[in-house]
Symmetry: C2
Subunit: 312 residues, 2 copies
């Protein structure tokens, strides 16, 4: 396990020229109506609007370093944020990119992907369907798949989020993270390795890590609700699961109404526009789905903001 | 002059429990299409959506410390941001507040002021007219005026922005700041006192510091255009002028189209929604109104975000 922490440190060095070190914002007690201080990591100012470029760049740069990038470039399936990140990284590195998104991917994310010059294919109801279609296409073109979460280089890239958060807020005892396919929380849990309590937050309508931890293995879960385009994986990744089992302290669920309230509060109090998945971790504190123990120093990752301002 | 730097340091201690230390975000060359690195101070995540609470709290807390707060509370005239800040501070400190805004104050700012429980009065075409009306009312009620810029405690409060920016980005050689009545840039120039080149940016339609520096004294200037609700003072403050004359390196003007483009770019690249006045300083770099000299390390203050997301 400790080996993986080294992978994350290596990833941080590899991707440093390509991603932003996103700032931490310290809030005093009561600022958001909570009786304890908070540290927010503003990962929503990352390139392409979410944490996803960390994993995408690490995956692609790792392959490039060993001469494994095919002429067809890269291919990915995504609810939208990962696709935008892969498209962004491909453009930055001079590669072709094809991105498969499902029907539920909102217009703002589709536009973002195309704005980076990628070829966009819209197919299937949810992420898992788009993934299947992208794999059929990959077999034809020979492009390199950049998986949205279940690849070691992706997991290590996303884990750099925790490394940065630890550098900027070493006092934290608990960190709340939204979970989709689990690349982000898996990488972060691997970095913290129990030194910080990592709390997973999922919408009730997308409970795949919650269900996996209950079952003792990745299992298929429902996909629906407000944040399905960013947190709607059917099943958590196989690679992340051991990290989650060992190092995710709790996996809580929140209703969609709590996510919407958290989005509104972020705009009202902080003038930050988060997409539903980006406000999910915070919502667990606001609605009381997770209550910190006495003396906890709590951090929250705001992980994405690819939304239409008029709708948020 | 050095005495005033001490006032700013004292203000920073006084207001620390009430305002946010806002984060700095470092951007590599080319991230915004500019061939040099940038440091952005994200003052738009400040309470009430702009830097204005710094001055408002310092003014009110200074008066409270010497028992000078009347039972009628506080009164202020504002294009909107200062009014929101005074209303916010008054609520936090348990005081009554009346805020006078002109017709041009947008609905989002009026709603914000009322959301903090202040009494809102809408009168006059521009800020100077609302100020006149507020002074007539002040003579009746005996409330304490919290001037939007031309008071030493307000100037010192706004100057804490520079102190924080210096702590977080000590390498900067040039800092760009948008100018309205000049409280912010006056306070910041007083803090830096020539150690950093402070560059004033104003819309062509609101050139009051530009005109004052050309005339050698505060003079009346036109008020209009996209950012008039935040930068539309008719004349810079008398107190800030000596600091500007001695320590503002340049005062440049930008067209409204450049401000709109900067707003769009901030959302597109950084998922930050700035109001027109909040994007004005950055716009000078983007449109080439100001070009840094070779080797400059440039900082930009993003100072406000009280806007309707659907319009930005």
């Amino acid at each position: 396990m400790m080996l993986f922490r080294r992978e994350i440190a290596a990833a941080a060095g590899r991707i440093a020229p390509w991603v932003r070190h996103t700032p931490a914002l310290r809030l005093a007690p009561d600022e958001l109506g909570l009786p304890f201080p908070l540290v927010l990591k503003l990962e929503l100012v990352q390139h392409a609007g979410s944490f996803k470029p960390r994993g995408a760049f690490n995956r692609i740069l790792t392959a490039r370093a060993v001469g494994e990038l095919p002429p067809a470039g890269v291919i990915a399936a995504s609810g939208g944020n990962h696709g935008a990140a892969v498209a962004y990284a491909a453009r930055a590195l001079g590669l072709r990119a094809e991105i498969f998104v499902p029907e539920l991917t909102p217009p703002a994310k589709r536009a973002r992907i195309e704005s980076f010059g990628a070829r966009l294919v819209r197919t299937g109801a949810a992420y898992a369907d788009a993934l299947q279609a992208s794999r059929a296409r990959q077999a034809e073109t020979g492009a390199m798949e950049v998986h949205a979460y279940d690849h070691p280089a992706v997991l290590a890239g996303q884990g750099t989020t925790a490394r940065e958060f630890e550098l900027d807020a070493p006092e934290l005892t608990h960190v709340l993270v939204a979970t989709g396919g689990g690349g982000l929380i898996g990488g972060m849990a691997a970095w913290y390795a129990g030194s910080v309590h990592v709390v997973s937050v999922e919408p009730r309508a997308c409970p795949c890590l919650h269900d996996a931890l209950a079952a003792g293995r990745p299992v298929a879960a429902p996909v629906g609700g407000l944040a399905a385009d960013s947190l709607g994986a059917r099943q958590v990744g196989a690679l992340m699961f051991p990290f989650a089992r060992d190092f995710v302290a709790e996996a809580v669920l929140v209703p969609d109404e709590a996510i919407r309230s958290a989005q509104r509060l972020l705009w009202d109090r902080l003038r930050l526009l988060a997409e539903p998945g980006g406000a999910t971790a915070l919502s667990a504190l606001l609605c009381g789905a997770w209550v910190p123990p006495e003396g906890a120093r709590v951090g929250v990752l705001l992980c994405g903001s690819n939304t239409d301002p008029a709708e948020a």
